[in-house]
């Protein structure tokens, strides 16, 4: 059983290091997610893990706990319509806007295992061949080291490629490796993957034309959401767009953004 004191310790550690809020009632989640780590450390229970955390000076174990507590659910072309909007409206508009400098910067701010940014890369390759001669700076970040490693490998199980990925893109952009499917080098090379905590300093993230920050603000409290949206506001290039997850919004958090609706998709841009 997870004692209230240990639960409290884990919650505080995770909050401090990732801004992820674990509310009372999430004890089961902590137990479920930390079980593999407890076992890997040869410990009996979370109590043992907390004891080890208190004395671990390297910070590695802390990082692993935070990693384990992240929710990494994602899929190729998740929700479908934001990608339609990107293809039909946003990218054509950005291409017009940046036609003199011929450079575009895209940032995927909670990449998880990479399906989202690779969906964007495939969409660019399929529908915007002209961008091949542009200077493209595509950055994908996540707090989880394990996830960033998975992104870099670009290797997906059959279950993962079965979800949301058009078959025509599967056969074109992936190759078989044993039982898995790996995204081809040409696409992997398009993206610069980096470990980065949205709640701390943002390093190496370029001012961006399109920012995908989907399904990550939900884990933070309002103060942290405001802080992050404030930084996004400063990072968004003139005319640029922000995509949030379906249950996320800037409303009542940062009034400098305006909501723009394209068909079924809500996007955000800086008010002029």
């Amino acid at each position: 059983m997870l004692s209230p004191g240990d639960f409290d310790y884990i919650c505080r550690l995770v909050l401090e290091r990732s801004a992820i809020v674990l509310e009372p009632g999430k004890e089961y989640l902590v137990e479920l997610r930390l079980k593999p780590l407890v076992r890997a450390c040869g410990l009996a229970d979370i109590g043992g893990l907390v004891q080890k955390l208190r004395t671990d000076r390297s910070g590695d174990l802390q990082r692993e706990v935070v990693d384990a507590m992240t929710t990494n659910e994602t899929s190729f072309f998740r929700d479908v319509h934001p990608f339609d909007t990107l293809r039909k409206i946003i990218l054509p508009e950005m291409i017009r806007l940046r036609s003199t400098e011929r450079a575009l910067n895209l940032w995927c701010a909670a990449a998880s295992s990479g399906q989202e940014i690779y969906s964007i890369c495939m969409l660019i390759r399929e529908h915007f061949p002209e961008l091949a001669s542009w200077r493209m700076n595509i950055v994908a970040t996540d707090i989880s080291r394990e996830m960033i490693q998975r992104c870099r490998e670009g290797r997906y199980s059959q279950l993962e490629v079965n979800r949301g990925l058009p078959a025509a893109l599967l056969v074109k952009h992936f190759e078989r490796v044993e039982m898995d499917w790996r995204i081809k080098d040409e696409l992997r090379r398009m993206v610069d993957f980096r470990e980065m905590n949205l709640a701390s300093l943002w390093m190496g993230v370029p001012a961006s034309d399109v920012i995908f920050m989907r399904n990550v603000l939900i884990y933070f409290d309002d103060a942290m959401k405001r802080q992050i949206l404030g930084k996004v506001y400063n990072l968004l290039r003139p005319g640029g767009y922000l995509f949030l997850g379906g249950s996320e919004t800037t409303l009542n958090l940062d009034s400098r953004f305006e909501q723009v609706k394209f068909d079924r998709t809500l996007c955000y841009r800086a008010r002029t």
């Binding site: 059959q158 279950l159 949301g164 056969v171 992936f174 078989r176």
Partner: protein
């Protein structure tokens, strides 16, 4: 108006699984246990929006079914999705070249199937 789907699989249990997911999404569902039976259904039942096609079946397999559908001018608006345990790239390529619009590998979840239908603009 509700859309119509034709589920083609020699396993009755699999037809039930797929049909249940579709019915929940408002589809009217027809069934056939192999490709030939499916061609008969298509000839008699009036317009169908999408066929979900297993590959390995007796009498006429799914690949042959897709080829015959694409060879007949009256079914040009029928969307075809392969739903199969065949998972080699070469098989996926063959099915698409024959005229399949999508390809779903077994096993799959209800969400996986629905997302494919979403890609096809059917839900």
């Amino acid at each position: 108006m509700g859309k119509r789907a034709l589920v083609i699989d020699d396993s009755r249990a699999m037809r039930r699984v797929i049909a249940n997911i579709l019915v929940e999404r408002g589809f009217e569902v027809l069934e056939a246990e192999h490709g030939q039976a499916a061609l008969d259904v298509l000839a008699q039942a009036g317009p169908v929006d999408v066929a979900l096609v297993d590959w390995n079946m007796p009498v006429m397999n799914g690949y042959e079914f897709i080829k015959s559908v694409r060879a007949s001018p009256q079914y040009t608006r029928l969307t075809l999705m392969m739903v199969t345990t065949e998972t080699e790239i070469s098989q996926v390529v063959r099915a698409l070249a024959a005229g399949a619009n999508e390809y779903l590998m077994k096993p799959f979840t209800a969400d996986d199937l629905v997302q494919k239908l979403e890609l096809l603009g059917l839900v």
